[in-house]
Amino acid sequence: MSERVAVRKTYKLFIGGKFPRSESGRSYLVQSSNVSLASRKDARDAVVAARAAVKGWAGATAYNRGQILYRAAEMLEGRREQFVALGVPGDEVDAAVDRWVWYAGWADKLAQVYGGANPVAGPYFNISAPEPTGVVAVVAPERPALLGLVSVIAPAIVSGNTVVVAASPSEPLAAVTLAEVLATSDLPGGVVNILTGAITETAPALAAHMDVNAIDLSGVTDTSLATDLEVRAAENLKRVLRPAPADHDWSVDPGLARMTALLETKTVWHPKGV
């Protein structure tokens, strides 16, 4: 009896909850697979999908967002071996699962920790609460491809932002596989969009896009590219997270900073009286 011929997977983009090929029809060979080479148009399409998802995701209850992020951790745990088969160390998969769970729990606590009542000198009710900034463009760390990716996506979406992520160009398979995890986690389409391909092609389009509210440059290693992206981002005053140091250890406790950098604080006043 002859050995069964395997069914191979086509690695595609993840935009608006669907898995399209690049509109440009291009791919590149990496990790022994043909992976979509996203174009500037794909980046713009992803921003449209991300913007369309903001209302529902930011408007969902914090409890609901936490449930969905936790569900993503469950799905990731279940696919552990699949990531290991792609070359992701088992420890890294475990750490990525734990990070999803950690961030999932923040969904309904962030407003209490980061917001609060302000004791103004007058008869006014006054309260400050964090809100998502909107659409966040993210350049994911080159590696660790899975833990780095989870560590930049989770803090952005837990508060209600939606993201367009430029995945690690040299190790994109973990990103496309994570998209499959997210697609089966009740995460609404468009909340996370993942582009594979060249950072130099997608990131400038995202940095200059007028409907993007913030950009996380964590994975940018070329300092002149980082400066160029920050200059582009200034056009509509995007919130900017600068590149992570080359020796950044993605396994340490990330603290609140990645979440709070992508939040707006809204303060509401109302007079007290009878």
Binding site: Y124, N126, S128, A233, A234, L237, E264
Partner: protein, 476 residues
């Protein structure tokens, strides 16, 4: 309008010098290249004083002084002692508040009623509030050991000269940073008097440095490689340029920029209160307010009633001498700003909106603009999109709450918004949907040191005031 006898506040409390130097390393010094400019009273065009203009070398001296003070004195000092200096400053501001208020009105043109009752109490309160944080930073929620950033370059506008100084300097010093601050070129005087207060408080030399000048001085300051933090309040256009200039550096940046706030009046709002709020929203400080309620969105079925009442109220506004205690609306801050207000107002008429001002006699000398409203404004009109920064209100109408949200958010800005309605659930529904950093419900233009202030979108990033205001001055 009732005739009131003039009730001018005395100028004698202010001791104006003919000329002022730069405040660097604890003393007033002459600028290296000897440049200067004049600060004038916008209500009379009288020259108030000759002000030193800081060049690149002066900025260099100031940054170096701030660095030395950070390394040697202010950085190593305990939070408890930093707090005491800030409390001293707060007390001195209270003690000299009349002098500061009169000087502010002279240099800026704002009514003494506002500088005395709004600006100065808030300035002192701001220093008091942040003084208390100086020895409690590890409890501020930014981790167990938050550190200062270093030398802060701060550039502030002319609309609330001393209040903006307080918003910048108080949190910076409380967090352990030292500062080089550039006041606006049309309103440097209260910042220079503040420098004297720093001397009087025996604040260590170099902790606060004040460099006066215009755009070039500001550019030299924010682009200086020796600064670790840049804080700017002003126009979105300049904010963008600063964001570009810090790209690729490790400088931390906070920006408080322009606005085009919607003040939304529903048909169930108490009309008289709403009209007071509309007037306060746009005519407070001559409309020179980044969070001014410059777009009135009024529900269609009460638009006529609201406008009639608003016009009646506007006819009672007293425009004139800023030092007169009866004055409601003072002078426009500068000839250049007056020109911008005129240009945009003319565009409003040219684009088809209907212009109205109450009968209003304006003084002959100085820069004046009568309180003005435009009705029949559409969202495409320049006066509905661009920040006028003057006493000019654009009136638009809406039918449903959803339409009000849509119109209110239809702007690249997102600094503030107002809601007037008697229905609590509608306030909260609206507040959730308005993309603005401050939402005033059944009130407007309220400020407090404990209350974070700052914008969404192109109104900038970072917050000033409250616990949040510390974050921009700490490495967390």
């Amino acid at each position: 309008m009732f005739e009131y006898a003039p009730a001018p506040e005395s100028r004698s409390v202010v001791d104006l010098k003919p000329s002022y130097g730069l405040f660097i390393d604890g003393t007033f010094v002459d600028p290296t290249d000897g440049g200067s400019f004049k600060s004038i009273n916008p209500a009379s065009e009288e020259v108030l004083a000759e002000i030193a203009e800081a060049g690149a070398q002066d900025v260099e001296r100031a940054v170096r002084a701030a660095r030395k003070a950070y390394d040697k004195v202010w950085g190593p000092m305990s939070g408890r002692d930093r707090a005491k200096y800030l409390y001293r400053i707060a007390r001195l501001i209270q003690e000299r508040s009349r002098e500061l208020a009169v000087l502010e009105s002279l240099d800026n043109g704002k009514p003494i009623r506002e500088s005395r009752d709004v600006d100065l109490p808030l300035v002192a309160a701001h220093f008091f509030y942040y003084a208390g944080w100086a020895d409690k930073l590890s409890h501020a929620g930014f981790g167990p050991n938050p550190r200062p950033i270093g030398v802060a370059a701060q550039v502030i506008p002319w609309n609330f000269p001393l209040l903006m100084l307080a918003w910048k300097i108080a949190p910076a010093l409380a967090a352990g940073n030292t500062v080089v601050l550039k006041p606006a070129e049309t309103t440097p005087l209260t910042a220079l008097l503040f420098a004297e207060i720093c001397q009087q408080a025996d604040l260590p030399a170099g902790v606060v440095n004040i460099v006066t000048g215009a755009g070039d001085t500001g550019r030299a300051l924010v682009e200086h490689t020796g600064v670790d933090k840049v804080a700017f309040t002003g126009s979105t256009e300049v904010g963008r340029a600063i964001a570009r200039s810090v790209a690729g550096t490790s400088k931390k940046l906070t920006l408080e920029l322009g606005g085009k706030a919607a003040n939304i009046v529903f048909d169930d709002a108490p009309i008289d209160q709403a009209v007071e709020g509309i007037v306060n929203g746009i005519f407070f400080n001559q409309g020179h307010v980044c969070c001014a309620g410059s777009r009135l969105l009024v529900q269609e079925n009460v638009a006529d009633r609201v406008l009639e009442s608003l016009k009646r109220r506007m006819a009672q506004l007293r425009v004139g001498d800023p030092l007169d205690k009866n004055t409601d609306v003072g002078a426009i801050n500068s000839a250049a700003q007056l020109e911008r207000i005129r240009e945009l107002s003319d565009a409003g008429s040219a684009e088809g909106a209907e212009r109205w001002s109450p009968p209003c006699e304006l003084p002959e000398r100085g820069f004046w603009f009568a309180p003005t409203i435009f009705t029949g404004v559409t969202q495409a009109h320049r006066i509905a999109r661009e920040e006028i920064f003057g006493p000019v209100l654009s009136v638009l109408t809406f039918r449903t709450p959803a339409e009000a949200v849509e119109k209110a958010n239809n702007t690249p800005y997102g600094l503030s918004a107002g809601i007037w309605t008697d229905k609590g659930s509608r306030i909260l529904w609206m507040a959730d949907r308005l993309r603005a950093g401050v939402v005033w419900a059944n009130t407007f233009n309220k400020f407090d040191p404990t209350s974070p202030f700052g914008g969404y979108k192109e109104s900038g990033y970072g917050r000033e005031g409250g616990r949040h205001g510390l974050e921009g001055y700490l490495n967390v």
